[in-house]
């Protein structure tokens, strides 16, 4: 974010790791907030998808984490920060179809190795950093093109 951009909204949402009990609840909250802010439908949809995939990753692989939503007049930024096992080889993890998922993760319909590539696909900018044994940080930016969407 550049210094001249004013922050319209910011919130941090805790995510419980190691369980699917509440998986998707934060994404629903983020989506509802963006709807209240009357952002364009396609922006909300993309933000909801990347948030949901990131939340599922925290539920699947981390001890705990948080999702930070920031909205400016030009961007929606979503950061997913977790403390957990981390990713040893990010290039490998980014390959569509590469998975380290457990049977439990697969039973709920995830773990096919498509989450990170989906996040990249639906983001205008995507950055991932990770440290083994400490955790993973994802940052996704979705641009709000207000002229294009006539908001």
């Amino acid at each position: 974010m550049t210094s001249h951009e004013s922050l319209t909204y910011e919130n941090s949402y805790p995510v419980e790791g190691g369980t699917f009990k509440n998986a998707g609840r934060v994404s629903a909250q983020v989506k509802a907030r963006l709807k209240e802010m009357k952002l364009p439908g396609k922006i909300i949809r993309r933000a909801a998808i990347v948030t949901y995939e990131a939340e599922i990753n925290i539920c699947s692989y981390a001890d705990h984490g948080r999702i930070i939503l920031q909205v400016t007049p030009t961007h929606v930024t979503i950061e997913a920060i977790d403390e957990g096992q981390g990713i040893p080889d990010i290039n490998l993890a980014m390959q569509a179809g590469y998975s380290t998922a457990t049977k439990e993760i697969m039973q709920v319909g995830f773990g096919a190795g498509m989450g990170l590539s989906n996040i990249k696909h639906f983001s205008d900018s995507f950055c991932i950093t990770s440290e083994v044994g400490k955790g993973t940080r994802l940052k996704m930016i979705i641009l709000i093109d207000r002229d294009r969407y006539r908001v």
Binding site: A28, R45, Y52, M114, N118
Partner: protein, 119 residues
Amino acid sequence: MKEILDAEVIVGHDQLGLEIKEAGCADLLSDVLFYCKAGCLLLTGLTNPQIIRTADVLDIAAVIVVRGKCPSPETIQLAEELQIPILTTKYILFESVGRLYAKGIVSCVKKVGEKRDFS
């Protein structure tokens, strides 16, 4: 839809008039997130609450659980809370999709790699 698939309505008896033109089917939810569109129908063999969370994220109109499977009580509760209809059919996925296609329901995305508008 209910008649085409000889389906049982589990949640959403009051939403049976919904008009649906497109559908997607998958047992991998990341695939659903990749190509399903708002307002479409989702056919799946999964029964856990994540099918409803996924449907909610994408504004999917309704979920059909195939192969005679029963959604879990948590799934039904969440669907009621989020007002997302769930139907079940005893037809397998291939047969269900074929029956819908024959009645004019088309796929959300025909081929991967086509230009997307993220709708």
